[in-house]
């Protein structure tokens, strides 16, 4: 496979064609924060924390590094003031519904969050939904609702087959620990599709 040469934070980096900027950076030891990325899953681009600045043909813009593929000659900056500002605001927005992330957010300068929202301790990164579908192949978790009403929920008809009993792979991928806190893999009271729909009414 073709090798692509790019520059990340001033460092010359070689990557394989088809890799994302995020993968290339991490392979080169450059850390870019993510909350919805998982190496076993297709990139999703939802948390936007991995936003970086790229320069190509003398033009700079912001892109989401988990879904942007490496290109020859690309110049990437992962930590500009603008990027920092965006990350900080994104974390501040997430904290309103998932205050459990406050230590993580502090690392990026969010000390006194200004927003409030329904506390669900879920940032809708979809790791559980996607891991269950893409790796486990069980499709036991799904999204319900749209916009601010969007929630994750276990599918009643699937969990009733007992498929979740000794799997629990979603426990480990959940960045806020919501799932292991709200289910033990046997009982799903309050977080099934039926329950979530009933709560939203």
């Amino acid at each position: 496979m073709k090798t692509v040469r790019l520059k990340i934070d001033g460092k010359d980096v070689e990557a394989k064609e088809g890799m994302t900027v995020l993968e290339a950076a991490r392979e080169a030891g450059i850390e870019i924060p993510t909350l919805c990325y998982h190496e076993k899953l297709a990139p999703y681009g939802a948390c936007r924390l991995c936003t970086v600045e790229i320069t190509k043909n003398n033009r700079s813009r912001l892109v989401t590094s988990c879904v942007y593929n490496v290109e020859d000659g690309l110049v990437v900056k992962t930590n500009t003031p603008e990027v920092q500002k965006i990350r900080k605001m994104l974390l501040e927005l997430m904290l309103a519904s998932a205050p459990i992330l406050s230590d993580f957010a502090k690392e990026y300068g969010v000390d006194a969050p200004r927003f409030t929202a329904d506390v669900t301790q879920c940032i809708l990164c979809g790791l559980c939904v996607r891991y269950c579908a893409e790796v486990k192949g069980a499709n036991a978790i799904t999204f319900v609702g749209r916009g601010v009403d969007r929630r994750i929920a276990f599918v009643d008809e699937v969990v009733s087959t007992g498929v979740c009993m000794d799997c629990r792979q979603c426990f480990g991928v959940c960045p806020t620990g919501k799932i292991p806190r709200e289910t033990d893999g046997a009982s799903f009271e309050g977080i099934t599709v039926r329950d979530v729909l009933a709560q939203s009414k």
């Binding site: 990139p43 681009g45 939802a46 948390c47 936007r48 936003t51 912001l62 892109v63 989401t64 879904v67 942007y68 593929n69 603008e82 500002k85 965006i86 605001m89 994104l90 927005l93 997430m94 309103a96 519904s97 200004r114 927003f115 409030t116 929202a117 940032i123 809708l124 979809g126 999204f143 609702g145 749209r146 916009g147 601010v148 009403d149 969007r150």
Partner: protein, 641 residues
């Protein structure tokens, strides 16, 4: 009907249709677009059929139910050919007079004609100011065509552009013509259609798709709907030509399920086109195969976004996907997919028929051709208007739209749908084209144009549109979902009188991140209503926050009502109409509003007779002390003295 197997067949069929039609034969066309339909045009049509028969004119007068004519404000609309006499607001009870007078005796029914400001009556549709200043190259045929009749479309020259493209032009020539015409997408972004077509044509892969975006979802916008309902063949013809240029054999029309008339007229049109050999295998004997599938959308605004729309066509949830690789290269099932909006496709046959030079002669340097706008809000003549690009907002709103209702003052015009911006009076002379609108902080969008008068609160408007976008955000990415949610919270508190110093700056701070970091265009443009109103109406935000005052008197929490004791005549109307019994008083006694009970519904203000105007609406100032209970009204006092 036998299939048309060659251009000659098509021309012969067209000539046959034309020779069977006497241009002098009277024809009553009744607008049956959604607006007129809602106003009862069905009953008007039935009445015409009945009355024509009753007057012995059956066979001597045609009746045609057409798509939207555009002047929705004054529907149901009737135009009688060949004179093109236009009657407005026609009710079934008017029909017998129209038949006996106009059709039988060639006399006008004066009261149904348009009257201009000085009372002069206007007979012809084209002479009515609303129509006179338009340039209806795309929309004009709506008046002449029964959308359920392919014969009507063909008789007017329909499918001649397709025939020309297939037999006189190579796919490259078609593409070059569209490129040369500088046709820009009418759906929002204004991207050059020819360039997009070229990208799809050149993308690797054997299978390519062409798609019509008919997921029009902006509040108050209905131009794509009316085009699809009124002239579906023009969109289909454009799509087939595009498919030929791009090398696609499969098309989709993504249309909202909530547009039942558009769906059914489209289904009929596709079926007719297939029967006539204009769609399907070996179109017109050219060897080119192409067919179209209708995909009905389930009603999510975000599904109008290209990647979300394509997900929906694939059968999964209509949520946007990251698209650093364009959908033109990797779209439906990761195949090259060219998506254009309804109006864009409808322009294509015109460009092929009349040439790119003709098209380029209309419009401005950067925006060619015409644009259909849905002109709504506080303007006298609401409806659909098609104007050349570059016409000023003032001409559209005043010359065509007839100015602001009830003699009120203009305040702002919102263009581009919910993610567009609000432009103030100082920009009324802005020429309307893609670039000028974007530069001013708004956008063309798909052509919504909402006019607002002095009684509109701009913070409330920003709140309304931002709330709409919060509801319609799919919720996938953080900045759009959570950012818009927080913006709505801040706007709500400002409107409720709880705004804090720094809220304007906080809105700007969130906006910047929502714009820069959101996954799709919905989020990226969602801050526009807030940013444009802050830009042009910052003082209104400041009045709400610093003075707890709503200058337009709209935000309930910031207004109070009281009754001016010197003007109250104790007529009792407000007391009787108040839904919460907050007004006390009796005969000859000054009425008083109990501020604790008042729900600020505005009823007392509206019902107080203008000759008294005793009910006052105030904002940002304390409510004056009420007179002692039992105070006699001034008039009663006068009598006593």
């Amino acid at each position: 009907m036998a299939r048309l197997k060659s251009p000659a067949d098509l021309e012969q069929f067209r000539q046959g249709l034309r020779s069977g039609r006497d241009p002098k034969k009277p024809c009553v066309t009744i607008c049956s677009g959604t607006g007129c339909h809602a106003l009862g045009s069905d009953k008007v049509s039935e009445a015409f059929v009945r009355e024509i028969s009753r007057n012995g004119l059956k066979g001597k007068v045609d009746v045609r139910r057409t798509g939207c004519h555009g002047f929705c404000e004054r529907g149901p609309l009737v135009v009688i050919f060949p004179q093109e006499t236009c009657y407005l607001g026609v009710k079934p009870s008017d029909v017998s007079e129209i038949v006996s007078e106009t059709l039988s005796a060639n006399r006008l029914v004066d009261r149904l004609l348009y009257k201009d400001g000085d009372g002069t009556k206007v007979q012809l549709e084209d002479e009515i100011p609303f129509y006179k200043h338009q340039k209806r190259i795309v929309f004009g045929n709506n008046t002449l065509i029964d959308p359920k009749s392919i014969e009507d479309y063909i008789a007017l020259g329909g499918y001649s552009a397709l025939s020309k493209a297939l037999f006189e032009m190579s796919p490259d020539q078609v593409l070059e013509t569209v490129k040369d015409a500088n046709l820009r997408g009418r759906g929002g972004g204004g991207f050059l259609a020819g360039t997009k077509w070229e990208t799809t044509r050149d993308a690797p892969g054997d299978i390519r798709y062409v798609i019509v975006n008919a997921d029009e979802g902006d509040p108050g916008a209905f131009m794509d709907r009316s085009l699809l309902e009124g002239n579906p063949h023009s969109v289909i013809e454009g799509l087939i030509i595009g498919a030929y240029a791009i090398g696609s054999h499969q098309g989709f029309v993504y249309v909202r399920q909530e547009y039942p008339l558009a769906v059914s007229n489209l289904q009929i049109a596709l079926e007719q086109a297939r029967k006539h050999g204009l769609l399907g295998k070996d179109i017109l004997g050219s060897g080119f195969d192409f067919d179209v599938v209708i995909h009905r959308g389930a009603g999510a605004f975000v599904s109008g976004e290209s990647s979300a729309l394509m997900s929906a066509i694939e059968g999964v949830v209509g949520e946007p996907r990251p698209k650093y690789i364009r959908t033109a290269v990797s779209g439906v099932w990761e195949r090259p997919s060219n998506l254009n909006n309804v109006e864009t496709w409808a322009n294509v046959p015109l460009i092929i028929d009349k040439g790119s030079d003709w098209f380029k002669n209309i419009g401005t340097e950067g925006s060619k051709g015409t644009k259909i706008f849905s002109l709504v809000g506080k303007v006298n003549n609401t409806g659909l208007v098609e104007v050349p690009m570059g016409m000023t907002l003032r001409e559209i709103i005043y010359t065509i739209g007839g100015g602001i209702r009830n003699g009120k003052k203009f305040k702002a015009v919102q263009t581009g749908g919910p993610s567009g911006g609000c432009l103030p009076e100082s920009l009324l002379d802005l020429p309307v084209d893609f670039d000028a609108l974007t530069k001013a902080g708004s956008m063309m969008g798909s052509g919504g144009m909402i006019v607002m008068d002095e009684d509109t609160c701009m913070v409330d408007v920003a709140r309304y549109f931002t709330e709409f976008l919060a509801d319609e955000s799919c919720g996938k990415c953080v900045p759009c979902r959570a950012g818009i949610e927080q913006m709505v919270k801040i706007l709500n508190r400002i409107c409720e009188g709880e705004g804090k110093t720094g809220d304007i700056e906080l809105l700007e701070e969130i906006s910047e991140v929502v714009r820069a970091a959101s996954l799709c265009a919905l989020g990226q443009t969602a801050p526009n209503p807030v940013l444009s109103t802050i830009k042009y109406f910052r003082d209104e935000y400041a009045a709400h926050i610093d003075e707890k005052r709503c200058p337009a008197g709209v935000c309930k929490a910031l207004v109070s009502y009281y009754i001016d004791a010197d003007k109250c005549t104790a007529c009792g109307i407000c007391r009787r109409e108040c839904p919460v019994e907050a007004i006390s008083g009796e005969k000859n006694v000054v009425h008083i509003i109990d501020q604790d009970k008042c729900i600020k519904c505005n009823t007392c203000y509206e019902v107080c007779p203008t000759r008294f105007s005793a009910v006052r609406k105030i904002s940002g100032e304390p409510v004056p002390a009420s007179p002692p209970p039992g105070t006699q009204v001034a008039r009663a006092k006068g009598k006593q003295e």
